[in-house]
Structure formats: structure tokens, C-alpha cells
Amino acid sequence: MDFLTLIQVLDSTIRLATPLLLACLAGLFSERAGIFDIGLEGKMLMAAFFSAAVAALTGSVWLGLLAGVASSMILSGLHGLASITFRGNQLISGVAINFLAAGLTVLIAQDWFQQGGRTPSLIGGGRFTPIVLPFAETLRDVPILGPIYSELLSGHSILVYVAFLMVPATWWILFRTRFGLRLRAVGENPAAVDTAGVSVVGLRYAAVAICGMLCGIAGAYLATALQAGFVKDMTAGRGFIALAALIFAKWRPWYALYACLLFGFLQAIALRYQNIDLFGLVIPVQFMDALPYILTVVILAGFVGKAIPPRAGGEPYVKER
């Protein structure tokens, strides 16, 4: 692999890691507050559809983004209603949300556009355009650093930069603010938070809302930046890879970045090379596809470090037993 190919692979790594990263941080907020969320996939899918649909109808990608985030947050509200207010099973609720999104998006898309469950292709203002960083053109010919700056770092849509900036932001919110402290506490020991006079329900709803917002951006990125329009089931398991990355990162923001970059890299490789010939040993593309899941199972099994989820995760909080 020569240098330029490497740059290209890393470039698509960044593109593919972005939706994973946003969804992963979304899950991070939710699960740190004690609400398991396997509905990341569904929220992303719903947001992808509504952002593409509204962008196609209005011609404005920003309105699309807004609609995507709103639709994802509605699903988050549903998850909150089921798992916080009615103390239902969070996992079952997440499963239901995934199906709801998979069905509704195609149903509505067919009703609105009659194109077999897809939206029309987005053109012009309906898409997020690449942002060229300053001096990217002039620096292009500088050896080594030039391509890194102008190919790898420059030329992504604004959502990519937002996603990467969300990593320090998440770290800061969770570990340097009072809200973050309480949010983490509510995922470890909600009774203590309740005793301190802070609303467990309020905090958990806040966490779930942030989760919905980030999933919404992730979905909008898929449909309006990475691709031009919505197609049926376009998230293609990304929500679950994000979930895997979250476990891989052991529920920590910076590690989430590394995990998402790793999984994005695996996707980029699998996309570019079908079967990889490694010193005579052929690695099939299916193995590359499955690798994030296999790695996660290995991590979960505790063979490489131990992934310990927030202690109150998955448990509805019941005041006074």
C-alpha cells in the first residue's frame, strides 16, 4: 500500500467513523445514565429518513437536519416513556424502536415519494457540502504533510468536524460539570442521587434526549452527507457497531473515538479490498465485516481487559421499595 492509497483509506475511515462516533457518544450518554439503548440503529434510521425527506421537499439541508434530529428525539422520548416512566424493559423497548423505524421509514417513504421506500436523490442545497480548510489548495503539493492536510483533514462536511469535536465536549460535560457528575451517578447509584434531592427521572430523560439528538445528527449525516438520499435500511447495522464500539471503549469518550476509528478503518478496508491477501493467507471480506462484532465479543468475554457497564444500567429506578 503506497502513501496515497493509505491517505485515501484513512480518508474514508474518517467518513465511515463519523456516524459510528456520533451514535456511540449518543449511547454513551444514555448508558452512563443507566438507560441501555439498543435502539440506536432505529433512531439513526428514522433520522436518516426524515432528514433526507425534508431536505428533498424543502431543498434545505439544515431543515432536513432539524427534522432528522426531531424524529430521533421523538423515538428517544418513547424509549424514555417506556423505560423511565413505565419502568418497562429497556432492551425490549430498544428492539421495538428498531422495528418501528425499519417499518415506518419505508411505509412513509413509499407514501410520500412512491419510489420503493427511498427518497429522491438530494442535489444542491439538499446536501452537506465538503468544507475546504484554509490553504488546503496551496499546501496540496507539499510532500507528506500536504496530502495529509488537504486530503485527510480538509474536505469533509461540517458534521464530521462536529462529531470529532463532540469527543472532548462529551468528556468535558461528563467529567467536568455538575450535570455530568450527576448523570454518571444516576447510572451507578440512582438511590443516592434521589436522596440528595436530585430528580432521577429528570436526569435520565435529559440523558435520553441528548442520545436522541446525537443519533439524529448521525442519521442526518448518513443520508445528507455520506450519501445523497435515503434508501431502505441504510444504517445497515451501524447502530449495532456503535454499540459494539461503546463496549469496546468501556463507556469512555476518548476510547470511543479510538474504537470508532478502528471500526471505521475495518469498514474502509472491507469496502476497498474484497479479499485481502496477507502473505499468502487470504482473509475473506466476510471476516472483515464480522470483525467488529467478533472483537466486541472477545472484549465482553473479558479476555482482553474487562468491560464493566454502569452498575444501575438496565434497571428501572423504583423509589422506595
Partner: protein
Amino acid sequence: MDKMPQWADVVLIPLISLLLAAILSALVILAIGEDPVAAVQLMVSGALGSTYGWGYTLYYATNFMFTGLAVAVAFHARLFNIGGEGQAMLGGLGVALVALMIPWPHWSIALIFAMLGAMAFGALWAAIPAYLQAKRGSHIVITTIMFNFIAAAVLNYVLVNLLRPAGSMEPATARFPEAVHLPTLHELLAPFGIAFSRAAPANVSLLVAIIACVLVWLLIWRTRTGYEIRAYGHSETGALYAGISPVKITMIAMLISGALAGMMAINNVMGEAERLVLNATEGAGFIGIAVALMGRSHPFGVFLAAILFGFLYQGGAELALWTSIPRELIVVIQALVILFTGALDNMVRMPLEKVFLAARRRRQATEAARKPAE
């Protein structure tokens, strides 16, 4: 003390949940500009109006009985097995290997060994997450999700690289030999003079599924193992004090669950397609979740819920054929059923409990008022 009589818990709550799901589905149909009443009529006539419709309804129901039982058995041990899809996929591989590798003299012998193959492969695929949950404490929901994706990759690899017949471009196995053809309901009922549609895919696997329902009932409520599974699901610590090994119960429950999910392949792979294709399961593993939730994890409930979902599946296909409502309507209905019978269970339960409590209090008050008068 119970807050509600048992019939309310077993019948009333699922019915109300189902009703809520149906109302919302009707609203969805209205919202996309179609008539819900006409849609239901079309679904009923399409799924139940002919032996052809029934044949498809029962064919789908057979799939859902297996996957529903699979989820239900795991539920009894309070294990949430989302991996039915992957286990059923691998079960298909087991069936295909059995059917293709050995020249069987008669379908009945082939069926028995295909069942064993399906069960072995399905159970194997459930065994790894089960072991990791029991021994290493990794969350079974997450591992079974991961194993669904890994199963899809494994099947893809095997079909593309190993089992694809020479000269074929499609990732699928060769057709199974004629000898392993399972008799359809048409062939089974013809000797009795009952005319059943020749085109419908429902086959002898339906009987196997019904037997499986009975066997699971026997297992859960009439055996020591079943008692241990339920005890473990009810209270892990209680079971521990009673000397029930969590590792053993987790493994047993998940192995049975995986074997049941894998068994689905005798219906869809051996009974219908008669070869293994990619995505042969068509999401039946996930529908098992809705079926088990609606059936309250009871085999008889699973049986009824499977037939209901078979009806929805076939009716939905008819809808997609004759109207502009896409098949995905079923996915929405499925989601609503899971939502209301599973996650929003308390939303229905809490007000009902209040009603029953109030009724009981009134009854006690009138009895108390009557007593001094006597």
C-alpha cells in the same frame, strides 16, 4: 397477595395491548391515505379466505412457533435471547449439510436427521453466548446481537465459497435431492379426501412445531429441569440457595432455545425453498420476540400468537400485492406489539390494577357492611 385475578394477567392485559397496537396500526394506515377497514378485509380474505391463504399463514406460523418457543424458553430463565435469527440461520446450514451430504432413502428419516442437524447447529450458536454469560458475565443480549451479525457473515462465506454449486453465480446451495422433499399439507391431506391448495408451502413441519409446543409445555411445567429454569428466572438468589447452578441453567435454557430456533430451518429451508439461500430466515428470529411476548411465554400462547403473526405476514403480503401499502406495515405492527406487550406493559397494567383493587375494596366494604346486620 395478588392484585389481579390470573385471567386478567394472562388474557386481559395482552388483549388490551393488542387492541392498542391495532388502533395505532389503523391510524398508520389512515395516515398513508388507505382505508383500515378495507385493509383488514383484504388481509382476512387473503390470509384465511382460501386453503392457499391458509397454507401460507400456517407456513409462516410454523416458523414463528419455533422462534417464539425459542425466545419463550429463554425468557423463563430471564434470559433475553435476541439471537434467534442467527441461530435459525445456522440451523439452516445444519439442515443443508444433512440434506446434501447423505443420500437419504426416505423423507421421514431425512427429516429426523435434519432436525438433529438444525438443533445441533442452532444450539451450538447459542452455546457460545450462553457460556460467556454464565462463566464470564458478558451480557447475553449484546453477545446474541453480535452473534446474529457473525452468523450472517459465516453463512455468506460458506454459501459463496464452499457450498455454491460449480457454475452458479448465486450464493445458495444446490437443490436438495427429491428424496428429502417434505410432504406439504396438500400431500398429507389428499388421502383423507381433503382438497388443500397445492401451491401453499405449509408442510409436515407444522406438526413438528405443534409437537414442539407440547414438549416445551411438558418441559417447563412437568419436569425438574423446567422447575429449575422457572425458579432461576423468578429469583436468581433464591435459586442459588436452593442449590440450582446458574451456569447449568443458563446453558440448558440457551441450548434448548438455540435448538428450537435452529429447528425453524426444517420448515423454511427443507420444507419450502429446498435449498439454502442467503437471508432464508427473513426476520422470523426477531418476530419470535413479539410472539413470545404476546404469548406470555406459554407454549399455548406462543401457538396462538404464531398463528396471528402468520396471518399478519400472509395478509400483509396480500396488501402489498393489491394496494400501495408496502409489506413493511407488518414490521410496524410487529414493533407496536413488542412495544405494548413488552416495554409498555406497565402502562396497561397499572391502571388495570387500580381498577381491580378498587373493585375488591368495594366488595370488602359491602361485605363488612352486611355482616353486623346479620
